[in-house]
């Protein structure tokens, strides 16, 4: 499990962020005592540090410089200071990323993942997803299935929208994904569609899956959303 050190002086954010990261499968540590952060950090040996700038005693910039001397872990600045100058300063002091509060949670999680991957601390995510006999290739944008009768692999090419929808459903396989959550996920991937377009895309996706021999792969849960 990857260890994330949260250096944040607001207790509510500290607790909620720890909870969020625990739920996401990380092992967070959020010290409430800011006396000797570099020593604490060195002892904990985190894989990633989330660092606020406005801290009691010293600011995040000088802390970043001290941390850099002791440990190699990537540092993401998470701060409410959003001026361009602060960002330049943070990055030039050895920060790996700069996120401004209030952040959207999916964005924060994605950027944590990206930084960890860039540092080689996680394997690149597989671009193949599999569920219920269907194989989704995220880079090629195709979905394929072994047909039961001829034992031959059949492949369908998906559009960008269909691909993201199917990927989102597969990532939450078995769970009910509400239409709103689905739309939000798509928007996070720069696909700005409305409710009607989602329906159209789902219908097309079902058509393609049906041709592969999976007519009822995506189930509609009336009033709740979709489920695989």
């Amino acid at each position: 499990m990857q260890k994330i050190l949260i250096i944040e002086d607001d207790p509510v954010i500290r607790d909620e962020l720890s909870l969020l990261l625990t739920n996401e499968g990380y092992s967070p540590l959020a010290p409430a005592d800011f006396t000797d952060i570099p020593a604490q950090a060195a002892r904990y040996a985190p894989d990633l540090i989330l660092l606020d700038i406005n801290l009691p005693g010293q600011d995040g910039f000088s802390l970043c410089a001290k941390l850099r001397k002791l440990i190699q872990a990537p540092i993401i600045f998470v701060t409410s200071r959003d001026s361009g100058l602060d960002e330049v300063r943070a990055l030039s002091l050895g920060g790996d990323d700069y996120i401004t509060k209030p952040y959207s949670i999916p964005v924060l999680l994605t950027r944590i993942k990206v930084v960890l991957r860039r540092m080689g601390r996680t394997a690149a995510p597989s671009d193949i997803m599999e569920y219920g006999g269907l194989r989704l290739n995220l880079t090629k944008g195709t979905v394929s299935a072994k047909t039961r009768i001829k034992l031959k692999t059949e492949t369908a090419v998906l559009t960008r929208n269909e691909l993201q929808i199917l990927a989102c459903l597969m990532a939450h396989a078995g769970e009910i994904v509400s239409r709103t959550d689905l739309i939000e996920t798509l928007w996070d991937n720069q696909i700005y569609i409305d409710d009607n377009t989602l329906s159209v895309n789902i219908t097309r996706l079902r058509g393609k899956l049906a041709r592969l021999g999976f007519p009822d792969f995506i189930k509609t849960r009336r009033g709740m959303g979709y489920q695989l």
Binding site: D10, V12, T180, I183
Partner: protein, 365 residues
Amino acid sequence: MTVLEFLSDRLNSLLLQAAFASLSILFLLATGTQAGVVRLLSLVWLLSVLCIETTGFLRLRSHLQELENIMEGLDRKYLFSECIPKSRSLYERRLTELFCRAGKSMIGAVSDAQAAQKEYREYVESWVHEIKTPITAAGLICRNAEPDTRRKLSPELSQIEAHVERALFYARAESPEKDFILRRNKLSGIAAQAVGQHKALLIQSGVRVETSGLEQTVYTDGKWAAFILGQLLQNAVRYRSADSDPVIALSAKPLGKQVQLTVADNGIGIPAHELPRVFDRGFTGSNGRVRGGSTGMGLYLCRKLADCLELDLRISSAAESRSSVAGHPQPEHCPNCGVTADHNFITASGTAVTLTFPAVHSSSD
């Protein structure tokens, strides 16, 4: 200064001298001085007065001209009284002293006002940064709330965020030191940032966002540009039409060396007579009055920030049921006309705002 002005200024003394001279002539004639002598004396008197007044006039004129020139050359006009040469006349010296005192108190007031404005701006900025912490905390707590509460609360939170953001940029735009950084930015990144910030609002309002041609690169401050774009998105949502599915189209195209970004919607549009005033501070227009909740600040801020970034900001619109030429903007408000015509979905009404980014001088970073 004209001769007439000078004469009218000297009228009292001239009249007095004339009266005194006439009386002297009468006295001299009465006491038996010869008329020829009196005539000679009057001539001498007249000539000397003429001479003195002429030199006086010329001297005064050149002095005034000199002062004018000093004033012209001054960058900060209120420092004038500090810069003029010391005069030989006692009266003028005293006057200058008085004006110097007035000027000093004015300079004090100006620098006080500047300091106060700077302090206020710094306070607003730090306040905005402080308020963002509880907003972030609320967002994190909201995530764990019941889905129903979450769905209702998250748009409210992003509303708070939007208002806070406006306050921050207002403080920034009004202050003399503009701390933006011009960097190489992809339009798609700026658009994603703006749309991401208003995601909750856009999704909740059922808006579809179409993008095209956003792979252009521009030199600008990404945050400022995203803020401007965000204001335009919010406006498009607020003034969407009830009759049709709301669509916002973000499209960009190169315009010579410049890049033109168009934000077009199919909303209710703006009446033609209100168009010239939409960028005024506090102008809400008939749409704003009918719907309420308009502050008249959004577009004003856009214009201010666009001016700082040297973006050319233009708006064109066709209002619902008012315009006889459907879907075509008024030519006088849209010199780059043809923009809305590109978007064939605008059939009845809508607004298009174009942002023209300045030319990129070098292609390398």
